[in-house]
Symmetry: C2
Subunit: 349 residues, 2 copies
């Protein structure tokens, strides 16, 4: 006989709903060896998909809502090749889900910023229209100009009064060095607590000599790490990262898109995968996975409905058939009910 447990809602701190093929036909993917290949495949796929960004994003985002996500930070591609189409599509999908899902939109220069001329102007336009955060991507390996890229995105952030969320895939000593530069810029610009690193694979190699110093620099700058527990990419040693004072939140990354056929948009699944990938085995370690999928993301995004959870009578809550949080993370059932404003939600198409 299984008990019923009540929990706060999920927060997806890093997702790409504009790229997904969720709800559309199967995408047979082409091989990709490098980040450059993957980015090229991504653009080609997006330009060829029949269903609109709004329809595809809505399919994925509503799936997430039904599985208990209450807030999400969506990185949305901005580039001359696509204009602001993706931003508008994700915004439209978010509006249809508005009572149930808070969406932060990150204007994300996926295909390069300075290296893809015209992108900077589009980022400016996206922010003027209301995009919530300034995105960034691998200043050295994708944009080829560490300081130029950082100058550009910090300037956008300052001018529009927005926070920053920068994708950092680069590994090794070079990856760690970029992170320390970003930490230094964050402090110099007075943006402590307002910068997130997406992925931060360089922080996932505990054998790197500079990792302790880098984590300390990030912690001093109040920088968050958004991790996605991907199958074939490095994952952080959560004890190491958290013990240095760096805050971590969890996200889905891309779901069933050109990059990967995997993912479901369910943060219950993501918490499970985080445990599986990081070798979580004790009850504390499993509970941490649930915290990173819920209240940690809520603190990062400032989600009042998730932060405000106080127990079984909370107006915004999830109900699961489970005996405990550790067992919930292992069994990863869908919620029995998603309660918003005191009522079980249903979604109309």
């Amino acid at each position: 006989m299984t008990a019923l447990i009540t929990t706060p809602g999920f927060v997806d701190a890093h997702i790409h709903p504009d790229k997904t093929t969720w709800g559309s036909g199967w995408l047979s993917r082409t091989p990709a060896q490098s980040l450059t290949d993957l980015i090229g495949n991504d653009l080609r796929a997006q330009l060829s998909l029949q269903d609109s960004v709004e329809d595809r994003a809505y399919a994925l985002m509503s799936q997430a809502v039904l599985n208990g996500t209450m807030a999400m930070r969506a990185h949305v591609d901005v580039a001359p090749q696509i204009g602001l189409k993706n931003i508008h599509g994700v915004r439209a999908a978010a509006e249809r889900l508005a009572p149930f899902l808070n969406v932060q939109v990150v204007a994300f220069p996926q295909f390069g910023l300075l290296s893809n001329p015209g992108t900077l102007e589009l980022m400016e336009a996206a922010l003027t229209e209301g995009a919530d955060l300034v995105g960034g991507i691998d200043p050295e390996s994708v944009d080829g100009d560490l300081h130029g890229h950082l100058d550009a995105i910090f300037a956008l952030a300052n001018r529009h009064g927005r926070d920053l969320d920068i994708h950092l895939h680069d590994v090794g000593a070079e990856g760690l060095a970029q992170l320390r530069v970003i930490a230094g810029r964050t402090v110099a610009e007075g943006m402590q607590g307002r910068v997130t690193i997406g992925h931060g694979f360089a922080l996932c190699d505990a054998s790197q000599p500079a990792i302790g110093a880098t984590l300390e620099a990030l912690a001093d700058a109040g920088i968050w790490m958004a991790t996605c527990a991907l199958g074939a990419d490095p994952v952080p040693d959560l004890d190491l990262v958290e013990s240095h004072g760096v805050k971590v939140a969890l996200g889905s990354d891309g779901v069933r898109d050109a990059w990967s056929p995997f993912g479901t948009g369910s943060m219950m699944d993501r918490a499970h995968l985080l445990g599986y990938r990081t070798g979580a085995s004790t009850d504390d370690e499993l509970e941490r996975c649930f915290r990173l999928a819920t209240t940690a993301g809520a603190e990062l995004l400032g989600s009042a409905v998730v932060k405000g959870f106080s127990g079984p009578t909370s107006l915004d809550r999830l109900e699961f058939a489970a005996n405990s949080i550790p067992e919930l993370v292992v069994d990863r059932p869908a919620p029995l009910r998603v309660i918003r404003r005191g009522e079980a939600i249903t979604l109309k198409a």
Copy 2:
């Protein structure tokens, strides 16, 4: 509208049903840093569990059957601390599932062979009683005697006319060196095609200088690799391994035991996790995951019911709601029906 597809059954080429807590109460695990810690925790946990080996193994093995597994190779602990209790329990569970599940039992010296005096005699007794294969474990790092360990297990295999299935966790150049020694012994003993390596984590580091030569040696000896797509352990580059002619099959490893709370015994889940962990993205790569979970294991175990699958009218088959094999691997639904000898199976408790 989703189609119906018919597939061969699953084969679990590497599972530890004697250790599982499936169907029993939740096990709150203690931290473990090293293989030695994990082995110690495992023994302590097994000695403290209330439910019998037979009941726990039956719970897991029946779950596997309902999810489409038709044959499995079960590594079962043999040690003076437990005698042949685990062997007998797994055999009893297998007998209760006999029309639906073919079980090979590997007598597995989990807690050491030469380093755990009395184990060798128990292995002999297990084989005399009918255990199907001779197991082994990390001759250097667990048993402390590469040639002594191999002498002992090859002698058992020869005397009883059984195949070998050796757990090899050791990584790096040393791990690869042990594998080449095992390959050499296999050829010298005329046992080509009759030796399996379980895990073989050393084969999962494509950057090792000796990896090509080691894979060639294994291929020449007809040695199989049983991999389990674990979350926090290395996974093979399947293209690299298969292109050198080494055959691979997939298994669950331990399921919800002292080592890890994860796992379900479903080979559909395992195929999915193999894809997720190896970054499978093309249709071919996803189909390979399904092959490794079905016909590859069937070839290793000699499973006639799975090897004999020839299409939708096969007497032993699985039926899924799915549009294609790649989509099946990504969506990982439970089978709609498991058909054995022409009839949908049901299990009585």
